[in-house]
Amino acid sequence: MDFHDTPEEAAFRAELRSWLSEHWAGRPLEGGRGDFDALRRWGGELYEAGYVGLTWPSEYGGRGLSPTYQAIYLEEMSRANAPGHPGVIGLNMAGPTIIAWGTPEQKERYLRPLLDGSEIWCQGFSEPGSGSDLASGRTSAVLDGDHWVVNGQKVWSSYAHKADFCILVVRTDPSAPKHAGLSYLIVDMHAPGVTVRPLVQITGDPEFNEIFFDDVRVPRDSILGGPGDGWKVAMTTLLHERGTLGFALSAELERMVNQLIKLVKEPGPDGRRPADDPVIRDAVAREWIEMQSLRFTNYRSLTTLLETGIPGPEGSGVKLAWSEANQRLTSLAQSVFGLHGLVSDDAPWNGFWQYWQLRSRGNTIEAGTSEILRNIIAERVLGLPKGR
């Protein structure tokens, strides 16, 4: 057991920290409603500096480093309060799936522009009627000569309004059993028949989207795996989404805890310093402890990954615990000044916390509802009998 950075890791950390202090420090804090073009340029800067695709094989434009470096990257980014690369769907979902399932041509075509931020991806998994029940999706693709003709509707697709490509789960064989009839396509979001409608969230932000497919023609070879492999391919995607999620979440929580500490140490709009209230002190300490526990749980899961190639099961609870911690933390932050905290235009204590408090309510729904995650832990980790 050794939590010290190796000399190589320490060098990487120092280099990144110094790069960030030069390239990022001093920019204003993003309240979650950032300017996308600026973010995209920032993604390009990160790529040029060598901080994108750290763990990807070098043949695909990555640096072939161990996941430890990704963890260091996420920690340092968070401590510098710097926003991440905007191509998260591409980097965490589409990219790894293409590496695992793609043809050489597909890898050649898609991976590089995904890394440098020049092409943005979105995903089309959920449907209005399907929710947590992914395999019940009904968006269809029918072969017509050299093309799949896609019809249907997807929801909860972040970045769809900015995306160039979509990883899309479609039903290609309606006669096959539920899971067996699915395939996994790469769809050009600029193709005729694709319509994106923003879904405004309770924060007021149109962060997610609905995507409508109306006789969209997709080249026959824009498929990952073969027809009928959709479920298996989608599981690869979701595995990668969850696999890389933990460090991003604990790093994000660290950022929020630091913001909370800053908030309570300064006198607020009512002249009081919340840190003088023992009940608030108790709550702040609780969240700091929770954050550290998630951080080190990620390290444990990472250690297992480094040893065995598979992340440890202990990481499976991180998203669950993080989402609830983030909800408690943001509600606490918003509550410290009572009604002052609800006045919309009373920055700096409001815009930021109001946004993130409301946004946090989505944390227990998106990327696997907490109910589904508890089922998964019970069934897959603890071996309890399936409830359905």
Binding site: G131, Q201, L339, I365, S370
Partner: protein
């Protein structure tokens, strides 16, 4: 021991529920919340003609209306006028309120100072002229008259004599304003000990009213959750069969009933000027505020993604719930006062 509203009060409830539901369906409510003012300008004369603003309504009559205006939010300065301002005003003003000619509110909090209703303020009056800066004034942008808390008592100031800056809150139908008074003509309402007692009563009344609204909010959130859990299917069955959903609804139900019991107790204590009024109102505000938030959060979770959209009505209730819970300080502030009763 009788914990029921009278037959007349239940009739009033039925009528109010019908009136509000027909006037403010979820779409209309959203339109108003997202409008420039957040207020339905046309409803005020109707409230007057329905007698909701009458001086002879008891607080228990009003309690029914507060609960119903939480269940289906009323985008008008009803709470401000009736709960916060009217009890400090004279009969003449009461008549103007009853006729629909006067909307009023209370201005107490000051920037950079503790915000609670009973905290000391700096605003001062000299020679009938009032000077001071107030913040967080509920419905301040649509009030005709301010009841202003000054260091030595309570005063009435016409809105025309004040400089009002509207501020939006996350709840579009319950905004606040900053109000600046510069040598504003002020009419004394109460001073010294009388003012102190009156302010305490105003606060008790406001807490009870907000607790009742919170009960209405929680009830609506539960109604929506239960309806959705019955009809929405996942994995081939309505989601209400899964304990992860049904037990959420049960938990909300239990908290809601607790909150309702305290809110009614508080309302009765206010109406009777009972010796337990202060504790009852603190308890009701603390529990109902958090119960409303809890109900909305569970309802959003039970709805999944759709409950997290701007389009769905749930977030309107959630934001109202947060407003109620935050008013005059969060839950823990009320608990600290309760603790003082119990332990000091």
């Amino acid at each position: 021991m009788d914990f029921a509203f009278s037959e007349e009060q239940e009739q009033l409830r039925g009528f109010a529920r019908e009136f509000l539901a027909s006037r403010y369906d979820d779409v209309r409510l959203a339109e108003i919340a997202d409008s420039a003012t957040g207020v339905d300008e046309d409803v005020w004369p109707k409230l007057a003609s329905m007698g909701w603003l009458d001086q002879d309504l008891t607080f228990l009559d009003q309690a029914v209306l507060f609960e119903e205006t939480g269940h289906r939010p009323l985008p008008a300065p009803y709470f401000s006028t009736v709960a916060l301002a009217a009890p400090a005003l004279d009969a003449e003003a009461g008549k103007r309120i009853a006729s629909g000619a006067l909307r009023a509110t209370l201005a107490w909090a000051e920037p950079g100072r503790p915000q609670a209703l009973l905290d000391p303020v700096e605003t001062s009056v000299s020679g009938g002229r009032l000077d001071g800066v107030k913040t967080l004034v509920p419905d301040g942008a649509v009030a005709d008259l301010f009841v202003v808390v000054a260091a030595d008592g309570l005063y009435a100031v016409e809105a025309a004599d004040a400089e009002v800056t509207p501020r939006s809150t996350i709840d579009g139908t319950r905004r606040v304003a900053d109000v600046r008074f510069s040598s504003a003509p002020a009419r004394a309402l109460a001073s010294g000990e009388e003012a102190r007692v009156l302010l305490g009563r105003l606060r008790d009344r406001a807490y009870a009213a907000l607790a009742l609204e919170g009960v209405g909010v929680a009830q609506r959130a539960l109604d929506l959750l239960v309806a959705y859990a019955r009809e929405r299917e996942q994995f081939g069955r309505p989601i209400g069969v899964y304990q992860a959903v049904s037990h959420k609804a049960s938990n909300v139900y239990v908290r809601l009933q607790e909150a309702r019991s305290l809110a009614y107790w508080a309302a009765w204590c206010v109406s009777e000027d009972d010796e337990m009024a202060r504790q009852a109102c603190l308890a009701a505000k603390a529990l109902a505020g958090s119960a409303a938030v809890f109900a909305c959060e569970n309802a959003i979770q039970g709805h999944g993604g759709i409950g997290f959209t701007w389009e769905h009505v749930l977030h309107r209730y959630y934001k109202r719930a947060q407003w109620l819970a935050a008013f005059d300080g969060p839950e823990r502030a009320q608990r600290a006062e309760v603790a003082a009763f119990l332990l000091d």
